[in-house]
């Protein structure tokens, strides 16, 4: 932004600060609004606006400066942490690219796409090496899918309260464009005894995961674009894998090598990490699918109730096993449930938006949502989940999320 437009922006903010303050209260009643002064023609109408943003990458309004990715700030190594999508400030089913969650284990590499290469080798008829130009030449596909870290909502195992951003923010959804992995695997010719594909990133972690060949051939993509533009560096620029519905760690970012093998490599990420400790001391391995989950994003801790009367309860639901079939919402702590409206598009392994109209009269209420997917699977309660898996686990928590609404409209995270 130029000095001139910066100056204009500051002036704009100063001029509108007084008007913005009018709407700052928590619960506004119809009477309070009626006492407002008569309308004035605002300053932004009585002066020309800012110059066009030519040369700039467009940014949100300065009034939305609070809508950013945040982490728990408890990670200890630079580049090895996670920052979350602010679902408590979003409205749709597509996550803006700059707000997509980020989880990395060796920092974000600055990969030059002209020098980047993808190698396919191992149990193939013909090992091949591709440039980015090569990959973009292949027949392309665009698909909308969610991407979720298996550690998303892990605070649920620990009964640790959080905002919807810090509890559910290791989840994002984009339109992904690239080539089906099966197309490129066919070029190399997969040998009949190749049952695993070992994928590796070009980052300093050289992050590597073993993927069953069936998933590679079913719906895995090699993607170079998200939401219509090139992948963001933190999301794998210039090339990543995308495994719809499976834990995010497997969608290898900055992918540079695919090795067909007859056995898994048993990498650190599929043994020491991303395995699930059970009460009997054993651990589940290769738990790939993200099971059905939902969360109310409005109201939420970030979005307290501001007025009595009509409101719409809004949220998102998703399943790694297919489409969302139904979402029920309870406003009485799980005793009675009403079916929410699902909004188009209801896509396979994508975020689905749901809404339910509600009248809130200022009473304390415990609200929650419960997703069902097309396999008939029903999102469990915290109690049901913990009864089977205990609380030593750190991954794949997908229980119903209750929000407690207080008389003043404040919303807090509780566990039922």
């Amino acid at each position: 932004m130029t000095t001139t437009s910066d100056g204009s922006r500051r002036r704009f903010l100063r001029q509108t600060a007084a008007i913005g303050a009018t709407f700052g209260g928590v619960v506004a009643t119809r009477d309070a609004l009626a006492q407002e002064s008569p309308l004035v023609v605002p300053p932004w109408t009585k002066t020309p606006g800012l110059p066009l943003s030519e040369g700039n990458y467009g940014m949100p309004s300065p009034f939305e400066k609070n809508v950013v990715r945040r982490g728990r700030k408890d990670y200890r190594m630079p580049g090895s942490g996670s920052i979350m999508t602010p679902h408590g400030n979003l409205r749709g089913t597509i996550t803006p690219s700059g707000l997509v969650f980020e989880r990395s284990h060796g920092g974000v590499p600055e990969v030059d796409p002209a020098q980047h290469r993808l190698v396919i080798h191992g149990l193939v008829r013909q090992p091949l090496i591709f440039t980015m130009d090569d990959i973009v030449r292949f027949p392309s596909v665009s698909k909308i899918h969610f991407l979720e870290c298996s550690g998303n909502t892990s605070q649920g195992w620990m009964n640790r309260p959080a905002t919807v951003q810090l509890s559910h923010g290791l989840l994002s959804s984009c339109e992904w464009t690239g080539v089906m992995l099966s197309t490129i695997l066919d070029e190399a010719g997969v040998a009949p005894n190749a049952s695993w594909l070992i994928a590796e990133g070009a980052d300093s972690a050289g992050l590597n995961r073993s993927i069953p060949i069936a998933k590679c051939l079913e719906d895995t993509m090699l993607v170079y674009a998200q939401n219509g533009e090139a992948l963001r560096p933190e999301n794998g620029y210039p090339l990543r894998l995308l495994l719809p519905g499976w834990e995010g760690n497997m969608s290898i970012k900055w992918v540079r090598r695919l090795r067909l093998a007859s056995e898994p490599a048993m990498t650190r990420w599929e043994t020491a990490m991303y395995t699930e400790s059970m009460p009997d001391g054993t651990a589940r391995q290769f738990t790939f699918v993200m099971e059905a989950k939902s969360v109310i994003t409005d109201p939420a801790p970030e979005r307290p109730l501001r007025a009595h009367g009509f409101m719409e309860i809004r949220g998102i639901a998703w399943s790694g096993n297919g489409r969302i079939k139904r979402v029920d919402v309870s406003t009485d702590g799980g005793r009675n449930w009403r079916q929410a409206e699902l909004h188009d598009p209801v896509l396979n392994r994508a975020l689905t938006r749901f809404t339910l109209p509600w009248q809130w009269k200022g009473e304390p209420a415990l609200i929650m949502s419960r997703a069902m997917d097309e396999t008939g699977y029903v999102q469990p309660t915290h109690r049901q989940l913990v009864a089977v898996r205990g609380t030593a686990n750190r991954y794949h928590y997908n229980a119903i999320q209750p929000w407690q609404i207080a008389g003043d409209g404040k919303v807090t995270n509780v566990f039922a």
Partner: protein
């Protein structure tokens, strides 16, 4: 002989074109395992992929103390980065302490990971001998190999990890809920 090879052989014998088995789009460059070898660093539990070379606990100790201890602690107790040592008998406690010794099922995984990703500030800078040595020392700190151990491509895959039998497969869906709508619970 694999079925694909049988088809190729038949095609060759009959003098037929093998175009059906070749690349559809003719995009990309053919390469060989030799050409890509500098990138191929996977170490499998079978020992496949482990390079020539060997390392000792004594050499590993020196390397560990200069290149690893700043983040993992002098005794592998973990400071900035993960704890590496101990935690045996904690996996059933509800608060498992997961270390190389208590949790990791394969010693080859330690080679693979140290070789590709460590030290954090300069990954892939250790020689094979250095990686074998660091691996030997971390295993020794966990009481898994003796002070005089020498590890190489033949011996490392044979190291028995304490939790090697501790993993199961995915039984999900393992939790069910009933979509009750009225007077529930």
């Amino acid at each position: 002989m694999s079925s694909r090879n049988r088809v190729l052989l038949m095609a060759a014998l009959l003098g037929l074109s093998t175009s059906l088995l070749a690349q559809t789009y003719q995009i990309g460059r053919k390469t060989t395992e030799a050409q890509i070898a500098p990138w191929v660093i996977d170490a499998f539990p079978s020992g496949a992929g482990l390079p020539a070379g060997k390392g000792t606990v004594g050499e590993g100790r020196k390397l560990y103390e200069t290149r690893c201890a700043a983040c993992h602690g002098m005794k592998g107790e973990g400071t900035l980065a993960d704890r590496l040592v101990g935690g045996m008998d904690t996996l059933k406690s509800g608060r498992p302490v997961k270390t190389v010794g208590s949790y990791w099922p394969y010693a080859t995984t330690l080679y693979d990971y140290v070789n590709r990703a460590m030290p954090y500030d300069s990954p892939q800078s250790f020689t094979p001998n250095e990686v074998y040595s660091v691996v030997a020392y971390v295993l020794h700190m966990n009481g898994i190999v003796g002070a005089d151990a020498t590890l190489d491509a033949a011996t490392l895959p044979k190291v028995k990890m304490p939790n090697s039998a501790g993993f199961t497969t995915d039984p999900r869906p393992d939790v069910s809920n009933i979509p009750c709508t009225r007077d529930c619970k």
